[in-house]
Structures are given as C-alpha cells and as structure tokens.
Symmetry: none
DNA sequence: TTTAAATGTCTATTGATATAGACAACCATA
DNA sequence: TATGGTTGTCTATATCAATAGACATTTAAA
C-alpha cells in the first residue's frame, strides 16, 4: 500500500489509518479472507503502535464496517460497494435490486453501423451486417456504476434506441420489442487503468481501476441478441459469479 | 458563517479553522479590508480560545496565504482562485477569459425529461413540459472549476446536446441554435459541504466547500431559455456581483 | 502624546493522542 | 490437551491539542 501516514498535520494518525483501511476494504483488498489483517501487521505496515491501529479499528467498528472477534480477528461486516451477480439471468437492474434505491440508464449516444469483425464474431453475424450501437451509463442512486457500448442486430431490433430511452433498461427495451426473456451466454472480465473517457463518464479520478466485461446475450433459442463492452468503476462494484 | 467546528473527530480544531479561513479568503469574504478579522473576533466566531485561532493562522502563514503584522492585523497575501463576475452578460468562458489559458466544457450526461416543479417554476413552464437536461463540467487549464446541470425547453432547443458537445460552450451552442444573445436574469448563491459527487466531479478532498448557484437566463424578450444548478469548487473561484 | 486595538510571548493546566510493555481471554488447530 | 496466534484490558509515560490568564510590543488614530 503506497503512502505513509503523516504526523503533526492536525489530523490524528488513527483517523488517517481508519480512512486508509476503509478505502482498502472498499477496493476489495481483503476479500480472500474476509478479514482485516491482524492489528500487529497493520501497526507494522503503517509504522505506528498497535494501540493506534486499535483506535482506527474502533472507529470503523462504530461505523459498522468491521467487527472484532477475540481470538479470531477483525471481520469485515459491510463493503460500501454494490454486488453484481453474474449468471444466466444477469440483468443490471434486478442484480443491483435492493442495494440501491434508484437505478437509471442514460443514453449518451447511439448509431447504426456495419458490424466490425469483433462485433460480428460475438453476434455470429457476417462482418458488415448492420447493427445498432448504444452508448449508455448506468447509475445507482445517482452514482455512475458502469458505462457500456452495446450492439444489437439492426434487422431484428430496429427500435432499440427509442425503446431504451423510454424504459432506461435493456430488459424492458427487449420486452417492448417482443423479446420477453434472454440469457447471458458469455462474460469475459478484465481490468485496466481508467482511460480519459472513463474519468468523465464514471466520475473517476486518474489512476483509478476499471473492470471491463465483454458479454453476449442470446434469446431462448441460443441466437445472439446483444454484445456489450462494459466498463465498471472498480471501487463501486464487485462481481459474483453464480453457477 | 454556517457550521461550527467539531471536536474529537481526529481532526484538530486549529486545522478545521485553518481550512475554514482559507476557504473564506478564497471566497472573497474579507476583500473589503484585505485582512483577516482580529484573532479575538475569530475565536468568538468559532467558539474556541484565541490561541487555537493563532495556531490556525500560523498554519496559513506557513502556506504563504496570510502575514501577521503586530499592531495592525493579519494581512491576506495570496488568493488561490478565479474571479467570476456575475452580471447581465454572465458567461463562463468570457468571464474566466484572461485568467486561464484554456477552458473546456465536458458533457458528462444528458437526457430529455418532464420538467420537475422546480425546473418548471424557473423556466416559467407548465410542470411536466419536456425539457432537455445537460450535465456538464467546466475546466480552466485542466482544473475542474464547476459542474452544472442545465435545463432547456425541449421544444425550442431540441439540438442542445449536439450543439454543446461540438462547441463545448453554452453561448456558442445557443448561437448555433439561432439565439445570438441572452441575459442572466436571476442568480441564487448558496454554499455547502462537498458531496460525494462533488469530490469526483471537481476533484476535491473530503470536507471541501462547494458554492452552489441556481441561475436563469432569458432571451432579449425576457423569455426563459435556461435554468442551471452549478456547483463550484469554492477554493478555486470567487463571485463578483456587478450591477 | 495618549489611547485603543491589534499581534507576540510567556506560564500553567487539562484532555486527547501516541507509544510502550505486560498479561488476560479467546479461538482454531495440531 | 497443548500451542500459537489473535483480540481485550490494564498501567505508565511523553507529546500534541486546547484552554486560561497575564502582560509586552507595535500600530493607528484620537
């Protein structure tokens, strides 16, 4: 972890350390164990006394973020980010569901174009086939969670743009166009440093991490209906793969 | 000045007070005298001992922002902010003008929606009338200065989104849509602590102050053409009301 | 010159912050 | 059951943060 705590700045060491640990928890640094490192390890890491670390952990316990258990360790109770389950029935809005009061999908741009080789391969179309492209940003409780570029076969989903703008949801837009159900066939997940476009679209700061998914949905007959490249603010989501 | 200092938060009182005074200086609160109020007056205002205020002023002197002169007072040496004149001809780009080498306006999001009661009242429309909403961030020399949400009557300014994205300027976008001149009719100014969205949009740190303006522009016939809620990084701007 | 108002300096006291060490209590596991 | 690792609690000490009061020094104005 980069950056040491600073002394004599008017900000108590225990507060600086609490802020750092809270951030690390949100970033998923301790997901493997579900626990914060032992107090002595943290004290060594930050170069302070164990009691100072205990003050920081006490503050986080007061916030309900961690819970110390004598003899075992300090368990992480709550992560201030959204869980995003990925399964055959992956949908953004129902996935976020009860974790946010309000979800919105904003259309930033759109177009109709010839399918690139990549898009054609995922949608199992001949290269050059006409596709509809939508650029969207999805928000939960006003916070941008992801920005996505999605392609749909133009012949089948000509009204996709209007349907999405009305419903603010891919699922509901599909329903309006006569596709009542669909299946998440494939999802690829990678990570990268945020690019300039991510910074504004997702309201990130330079150096932030984005999780990138490439996903393909099919109808119930296995025919591809959507290919999406989605970029998530890494400190606001985690993925859960369900089988 | 709203908001008192908080005790036992891990942030020393002298640091909270230093931050508040720095912000007040940036906001132009002491422009009439060019001096900070006397130590005893500040101590009374913040409800602390004079020595605590002296610690805060010593920190600001260390930063080169103020300079104490025995027998006279504490003089303001440097203000880290842009001047933002507000008048009938208020425009962001010409207002900042020579103070920055480069200004940009980035479109973060947009939409078309039914006017809320607040928007309808300001634009003098019937509630529910369609309006176009633009979410923008304005930068000067790469530093975010303000983030704004603006509403325009959809019937009259249908192409606002494209025009703004092309010109990166409300004034030039209006010109492209046939409105060559407009007048700043009303401006409301308030202040608040930065919210989570401000921190990323304006690249602020927790505890920072934002200045919030609610403004309405009209055409030369007095018909409202724009209502904006704009949030400024308070330590980077000051407003000057010109009549 | 006198006076008022402002900053500068000093002593003293209290509470919060941070370090140091020792040991108890508890848990998982060999 | 024995052991190692973890959190919980206690005492002690030093430093920082904040308050309180007194008085000196400097400046501007009456």
């Amino acid at each position: 972890m980069a950056g040491q705590v600073q002394r004599q700045t008017g900000v108590a060491l225990w507060r600086q350390i609490a802020d750092r640990i809270r951030q690390a928890i949100s970033a998923g640094a301790y997901d493997e164990t579900g626990m914060v490192p032992p107090e002595m390890a943290l004290a060594t890491q930050f170069g302070v006394n164990r009691h100072t670390v205990r003050s920081a952990l006490a503050a986080l316990a007061q916030e309900g973020i961690v819970r110390a258990v004598q003899g075992r360790g300090t368990l992480i109770e709550r992560k201030e980010r959204l869980n995003f389950p990925i399964s055959k029935r992956t949908r953004f809005n129902s996935g976020i569901g009860e974790q946010a009061r309000e979800t919105r999908g904003l259309l930033l741009g759109h177009g109709e174009e010839a399918a690139s080789d990549e898009v054609a391969r995922w949608l199992k179309l001949a290269p050059g086939t006409r596709v509809i492209r939508l650029e969207t940003v999805r928000k939960a409780d006003g916070r941008p969670v992801s920005s996505a570029t999605s392609w749909f076969p133009a012949a089948r989903f000509a009204g996709m743009r209007d349907a999405y703008e009305t419903t603010e949801s891919i699922t509901r837009a599909f329903a309006e166009l006569g596709l009542s159900d669909y299946i998440r066939a494939t999802t690829e997940i990678t990570a990268a440093h945020a690019e300039a476009a991510d910074l504004s679209a997702l309201e990130l700061t330079p150096g932030a991490i984005v999780l990138i998914t490439k996903a393909m949905n099919t109808d119930l007959d296995g025919v591809p209906v959507q290919y999406s490249v989605t970029r998530f603010a890494a400190d606001r989501v985690q993925f859960t793969i369900e089988n």
